[in-house]
């Protein structure tokens, strides 16, 4: 099996954009091709990570449209939909295409156009992933977060403030990300005083609705230096995907995301590393509580102690294990199909030393992309090529 390198990457400005999904995808795709120094005609495979362009915009067939726009006609294309983890699933598909030898050069572009919809409409599109017995009760992803947050705080005797500190940290990181939707700090009082959305969680515990796109270019590591210098590519040293129950209340422990546990075990084994070897991580903080759950289920911290790491500054940018240096979904934004790609974009920048003011000491980075409420998960580990 070929080791797979990332040789180019891009992301658009995240936030409220005038562009529609096809334009957003083309913007990120063209920039990633330029970053890798190749043309659309060099692509064997072109994947698009997108959850719901048909539902949001009435635009389907986006991979073919993108191939045409980027002069990549002739490439094999496919749309990867795994709800909020479409991006991570796209990374898996792109990695697989190169690792298997089916493609010599693959590009993945992930993105979503959402902000033209009301919050209520967008929430319902996302909630359509739920089981009928959940959907008919009006369950939303934010309400799953509220249910889980209450249980976590109760079971592990964690203070409500610790969740707020995740938002404060990630907003602080987002200030230095020029692509982030929110490039401003928030203080704890603002977080804790914001309107209730799903008790005990409040507005600032949730990521925004976002337009945006990100892209990655992949090739075999054996030829990566034909495209870019050694210190400008990264290797996907481990990747794993897994699922948990569709029906959330059927999980043995509602504060454990089995897909995170299982996918990370696969990724760690493939990479030959463990949680202690990870220098920086991008976690799927669609809701603040998810950063606690993932940091524990990835093995960074003991069960029920993720909140202490945030309280102690361990996950700050200058801490022992920086988490969400990009600002996370919380500050950077969450354009569904684009988020998992943007997570790997950040880790790629970190392990190649190109993260600018967000740079931390990092040889090995991890991205964990979660779909649904932990229903589907992809975990990827990247190492610098230098």
């Amino acid at each position: 099996m070929e080791r797979v390198a990332v040789i180019g990457a891009s992301m658009t400005q995240f936030g409220q954009r005038d562009a529609w999904v096809q334009e957003l995808l083309a913007e990120a795709g063209a920039a990633a091709l330029d970053d890798a120094g190749i043309d659309g005609g060099d692509l064997d495979h072109l994947y698009v990570s997108n959850m719901a362009s048909g539902e949001f915009e009435g635009q389907t067939g986006v991979p073919n449209a993108l191939a045409h726009d980027l002069a990549a006609t002739g490439a094999y294309t496919a749309r990867i939909d795994q709800t909020s983890s479409s991006g991570g699933a796209g990374v898996y598909a792109a990695w697989q295409s190169v690792a298997s030898g089916a493609s010599d050069v693959t590009m993945l572009v992930g993105g979503e156009k959402m902000t033209h919809r009301t919050t209520s409409e967008a929430t319902d599109v996302i909630a359509s992933l739920t089981h009928p017995v959940e959907y008919k009760h009006g369950v939303t992803l934010p309400s799953f977060a509220g249910l889980t947050a209450r249980l976590y705080l109760d079971e592990y005797d964690a203070p409500r403030e610790s969740l707020g500190k995740v938002a404060v940290k990630n907003h602080r990181n987002g200030v230095d990300n020029p692509h982030a939707q929110f490039q401003k700090e928030v203080d704890l009082d603002t977080v804790l005083g914001s309107p209730v959305v799903a008790d005990p969680l409040r507005l600032y515990d949730f990521c925004p609705i976002t337009d945006g796109s990100a892209a990655l270019v992949f090739c075999p590591e054996s030829v990566a230096q034909e495209y870019v210098p050694e210190d400008e590519y990264a290797v996907i040293s481990g990747i794993g995907g897994a699922t948990d129950t569709h029906v959330v209340h059927e999980r043995a422990d509602p504060t454990t995301m089995g897909g995170v546990v299982d996918s990370s075990e696969i990724a760690y084994e493939m990479a030959g590393v463990g949680p202690d070897d990870v220098d920086v991580a991008e976690l799927h903080d669609m809701f603040t509580i998810l950063e606690f759950l993932q940091s524990e289920d990835l093995g960074f911290f003991e069960k029920g102690e993720g909140w202490k790491a945030v309280e102690e500054g361990v996950t700050d940018r200058d801490g022992d294990l920086p988490i969400n240096t990009s600002g996370g979904l919380k500050s950077k934004g969450h354009p569904l199909g684009g988020s998992g790609v943007a997570q790997v974009y950040e880790i790629y920048q970190q392990v190649t030393g190109n993260a600018g003011p967000r740079q931390v000491e990092a040889d090995t980075g991890l991205a964990c992309n979660v779909g649904g409420f932990g229903n589907c998960v992809t975990t990827a580990i990247l190492e610098g090529g230098r």
Binding site: P132, V133, E134, H137
Partner: protein, 158 residues
């Protein structure tokens, strides 16, 4: 879909609260002894379905709850939701049996249209109460005919 099968009743009025006059709260029982709600094709271990269990017969307690203020189209606002766990008795040794549902007002009517700002606590005992429409079919993105819209809320028991 199994829900359609399971909520069929001899008399689906459900408004008088009498047993036998409302749909059953049907979970699936499998050959390996496990019970799940909702019913699935096979058990978590792959065992075939062998029967049904009416969850109205079991006591339930709140595992966790939330009051959602940002609800989708056709859903009451606010909407208090809870995950409840059923006490399946000493002879049952399968995985825990839980359900997620709207919380009904204490002492309120059994049917739809009641306020959704109910405060409860973890550990509270609840009983299922039937409602014809838990949310407005067709107001959201899901095709109205693709699923049923009635079901059971959970009402705190003093």
């Amino acid at each position: 879909m199994s829900d359609h099968e399971t909520s069929d009743t001899d008399d689906a009025t459900g408004s008088d609260g009498k047993r036998g006059a409302e749909p059953t709260f049907e979970a699936a029982e499998y050959a390996d002894g496990t019970v799940t709600y909702p019913p699935h094709t096979v058990s978590p271990n792959g065992a075939e379905r062998v029967g049904t269990v009416d969850l109205r017969e079991y006591e339930a307690r709140i595992v966790t709850w939330t009051m959602s203020t940002a609800t989708p189209p056709g859903v009451r606002e606010p909407n208090t939701l809870a995950i409840v766990e059923f006490d399946m008795g000493d002879e049952y040794d399968g995985p825990v049996v839980r359900a997620l549902g709207q919380v009904a007002e204490r002492g309120g009517a059994d049917d739809a249209g009641e306020p959704g700002d109910v405060e409860v606590d973890i550990g509270d005992r609840v009983e299922p109460v039937y409602a014809d429409d838990l949310r407005e079919p067709g107001a959201g993105i899901r095709e109205p005919a693709s699923q049923d819209w009635d079901g059971f809320r959970f009402r705190p028991v003093e």
